[in-house]
Symmetry: D2
């Protein structure tokens, strides 16, 4: 329920305005060198309050490792990480305490649990994704040992598409834009929406380089299915594409098939996955985020007693959740791959003999 | 690996040209009336050889229940169903035995398992989905008891979109088209591609009516994530949208939020799911299928020794996998919902007391 | 629920007097040679009707493989096996239809499911264990590839203990006795109970030879915990011991600890498992079976309407379930080991590099 | 791997001498009143340093709840609890750093992970069980809401058996003895072993009162199997009995069967479980602990380079792990029952209709 993955599995806990949030990462192989600075650097990419395109909420998101690491190496035991909330008591919720904010999980959580944790979204807040990034950093430490790289960037904001896939530029861009020439327009769209007390949507591209072929468990723990599971489980995501995605449905077979030569696939329409299993080519995934539901305009809603009321939110919010969301998507991809790497080890008798003989 | 679901779980077995395929459905509550004719009717919707828009392979797809049903009711024990292949020995594979068919899982399965089952795709064949439809029919028997309805139809073929959502018409259409006015054009596109030895893509719409609010387990077994998992795990699917899907990313927050009045949501942009949990409104999912990879045109590929060869397939194939695939998507949705219904029962102490007091 | 194992997982279906029973074994590595005669030989060791010490019910227990094997090798896809019941309609149940047989699961299944499958115990019948033996045979094929051997025999019947552990003799004994000198007394105890329309209990010893050290997942999927899980889940089992078992509790630390020398452990009080992980020494497990609950003496019970009635069973039953049960225990041990072998592969980064580099 | 349970699931982390240990309890229904004093009182029953019969290591074992509780009630989200180690740096490990302590998991963990965390047993230390008691306390809060009670006590130490089952006395006894008349002898046995630098074994009895009938998932998540799994997974446990346990194997069927009358079972030889499902009678389980492996006598062992060495341990240890272990066994039983209660809710269509209609 609050866990993800089979063999490399993480479980998160924590609410937006509770005492702390964190995770346990289980199934991490022993012997991986743990670079704590790298883990913190991953956290910092996602953390709020860094520029005008993110929520001004200030959190240092300092992660503490409580277990599973000894003398700088993983021990094979569960790695627990905790992030204490610092800024959780900064405002009062009187005006939203009993009403369901449009576009949020307030109504559905109340229907499910019969209880209302009105503090900033509680468990359904995007703040929980800090724990996913911490877990993802552990996954990346494993991927690095095998030379696998996971990258991400923003390929569209408010309908303005990036024409390039420049991941180096994305690293330096405040909005992680993949296209230097479009970044300014994308930023302007955000700024404009913010001024109007509104918000914008966006799309993240996640790419895996140097993945081994053969990853993915058929038929219900396929690599593509598990990626879809991981990505659609990120707050605000409403669509997922792999490879050519929706465009593949408008193409003919000949055009869409990736033909092969001795040095590999001639094209990569399939986005590095065939029959749910990695081909060894780049894995390409697009993740579509809706506009932030928290806006500062008047909206109609009901309260927990089903009285019709107006809602005018205050507070601090990202004008475009896709930006920080792209880091979460990259983390989830890393976690999926780490899991698939471990799961796939026993696919052939030959591999088993390598380990036991 | 070959199982799906947590509490209402099914496991499938079987290959395209093996002796039989089938499934075990586990976790089915006791006391559900089993209408075997209904199960067979579901199978018949998916079965091949019924018209010019599907593969001519003839299979009666007669399902036999081996366990779990006694005196016409489910007993709570696992329901095993088997479908014997009838038409599995009809041709020889000499021309494809050692080569990787473009767009297929041949290469990736070989990379993963080091073994090549060249008979019609083996386990990765869409034939396996017959077992999913059988399992889905059991799920539907449960959903019916609670008044929940799952529907599907084709909303796009070869780029030709349906403008309507007429599920009644879809039931009568040979291609399950949702739009009477577009059906002819969609059929023509298929016929044309078939004549050219090519294939087309398509899109299925799946809709759930009368779902209870509150379904979905946060945060990693969310309803939306599990739907994405289920749908992306269907052969040939490359994209998934929930509600407004990719379009949501180009909208502003005010436009995209579903505001509420005392009688419910004013709009349903979110497709019936907020924060991963059902709102009680219709659940809307679009499933994008790539064009059938099996085409009868010359393609470049390699064989298992990495020699470059040309490939010209023969045999019997669906010119558009989306059509029969829509029935599979509907089945998978039914299975996801059945699982979520059972999982959600323990969300509140109040429910537990209802059962035990 | 009806599945066992994480990575090498099997799921069974079927009832005592239904059409068929069987299993799906999932997670079997590709490339294992499948000796069907061996699988059938394993079935034959458990099958009923072979001598005076087992039920006279005649079943050939012929197993058919429906999937997952191609050209004599496992393909990595799920192996489905089915055993059709032959002797399921041989008698009528009028006299037990509505009453709860003492010592059986009749009452508890009725409480759980609200439905009564009165045909020979339905799903709770020991007949289901045929499917476990079929699955266990597949596990053994994997263990053989690694040189691991699993053995079993009877070490006690009706309180008469075997003083030896002669597994070669056990193979030839009709009651799988481990002690040639005690076999006759043990047989006599069974014969006597049978004449008195009563039944006897017994104890099986299961031993693993040549297990690698390091198997077992801490802390909740430990090798010892999973063995206990597997064994206590066999019908009629009421106690489990590992190594010295209950006797360890009456010993002092110095006496119980297994000290070490360069060539290994000096003793094996721990039964080959320390901290839940295999030491590489023989794994020793004792499995205690209660006497068969089906006896032909008058007993007091109630019917499904809670009317007090007497119960006099008729039919065919094993006078001592421990005998055929020992084969099931051996199968379950093989399945646990196969699972642990696969799970343990990713415990060290070093192993992962062996597979991927 | 470090998780237990399906629907009411907990995951623990932490090492004996690391910074902290703790757990995440997932699947807890919303709306349960959380009595933090009760949780701490449960911790205090297990905590070390309380009298002469336990290790003198001082730990306050103060548990902090980090998430999942709001305004004194569970919210349905994961409950994270952490216990910071206070006394973890008190001694040096020079004399045991590289050698395998007999009877401990040192050797097997090294074989599995290739890494040695020499600080007090690391993850395999009984200190981890503090997290199980914290999780068990949450389970008990749920059981209380349904009137189910779980009790435990010591029924044997160093071979000295308790003749009574006085759970009220056990609560007041420093060694949780179930028999006032035997307590002194049991204490003396411990004191004597301690003086001799040795240790003793013991047996705990765990009893459940007022369990509903029908709990337990057939066939591989049976109540008895899951209890065996839970108990054998506790450090130092080497045998498990349910009901009459090993004695059942020496009895005849007529003697062992529990006959029924309108007011229930006439006897309870089966220990409250038939066919893996609860009968509604008391559940009785005996858990056998080996003597503490940490003793202060000279023992033979090897170091990590397989050099033969002598080992003389120093430090602080329980002379009889069964005592504090009984609290852990009681906690594990509570956790198993909570899980089974939630899992069983969907066994009948009738229950599902109660929740959704």
């Amino acid at each position: 329920m609050n866990s993800f993955g089979s063999k490399f599995r993480f479980t998160t806990f924590g609410e937006s305005h509770g005492r702390a949030l964190g995770c346990i990462v289980d199934g991490v192989p022993a012997g991986i060198t743990v670079d704590e600075d790298f883990i913190q650097a991953e956290m910092d990419r996602r953390k709020p309050g860094q520029n005008a395109y993110a929520t001004p909420r200030k959190e240092s998101d300092k992660v503490e490792i409580l277990s599973g690491v000894f003398e700088g190496k993983t021990t094979g035991t569960p790695i627990s990480m905790v992030i204490f909330n610092e800024n959780q008591k900064s405002r009062d919720y009187t005006n939203v305490k009993d009403l369901f904010r449009p576009g949020h999980a307030d109504f559905t959580y109340f229907e499910k649990y019969g209880i209302r944790d009105y503090r900033g979204g509680g468990r359904s807040s995007a703040r929980e994704t800090a724990a996913r990034v911490a877990a993802g950093a552990i996954a990346k430490l494993l991927l690095k040992e095998l030379g696998i790289e996971v990258l991400s960037g923003i390929c569209e904001i408010d309908g303005i598409k990036s024409s390039k896939e420049d991941f180096d530029f994305a690293k330096t861009s405040e909005i992680f834009s993949l296209d230097k020439d479009k970044e300014e327009f994308q930023k302007d769209a955000i700024t404009k929406a913010k001024k109007e007390h509104n918000s914008v949507g966006g799309v993240a591209l996640v790419k895996v380089k140097n993945s081994p072929a053969g990853l993915g468990e058929p038929l219900y723990h396929r690599l593509d299915a598990q990626i879809a599971n991981a990505m659609m489980g990120i707050n605000a995501v409403k669509a997922i594409e792999i490879g050519d995605g929706t465009e593949a449905s408008a193409k003919k077979g000949l055009e869409n098939n990736d033909q092969m030569r001795a040095d590999g696939f001639k094209t990569n329409h399939c986005g590095g996955i065939l029959g749910g299993i990695s081909t060894g080519a780049d894995i390409d995934v697009k993740v579509y985020f809706k506009p932030t539901p928290s806006i500062f305009l008047k909206q109609e809603t009901v309260d927990i007693n089903n009285n019709e009321v107006n809602c005018e939110l205050k507070g601090r919010h990202d004008p475009c959740v896709a930006i920080r969301g792209s880091v979460v998507a990259e983390s989830m991809m890393s976690l999926v791959l780490a899991d698939m790497l471990l799961l796939n080890m026993s696919s052939k008798l030959e591999n088993i003999k390598k380990v036991y003989n």
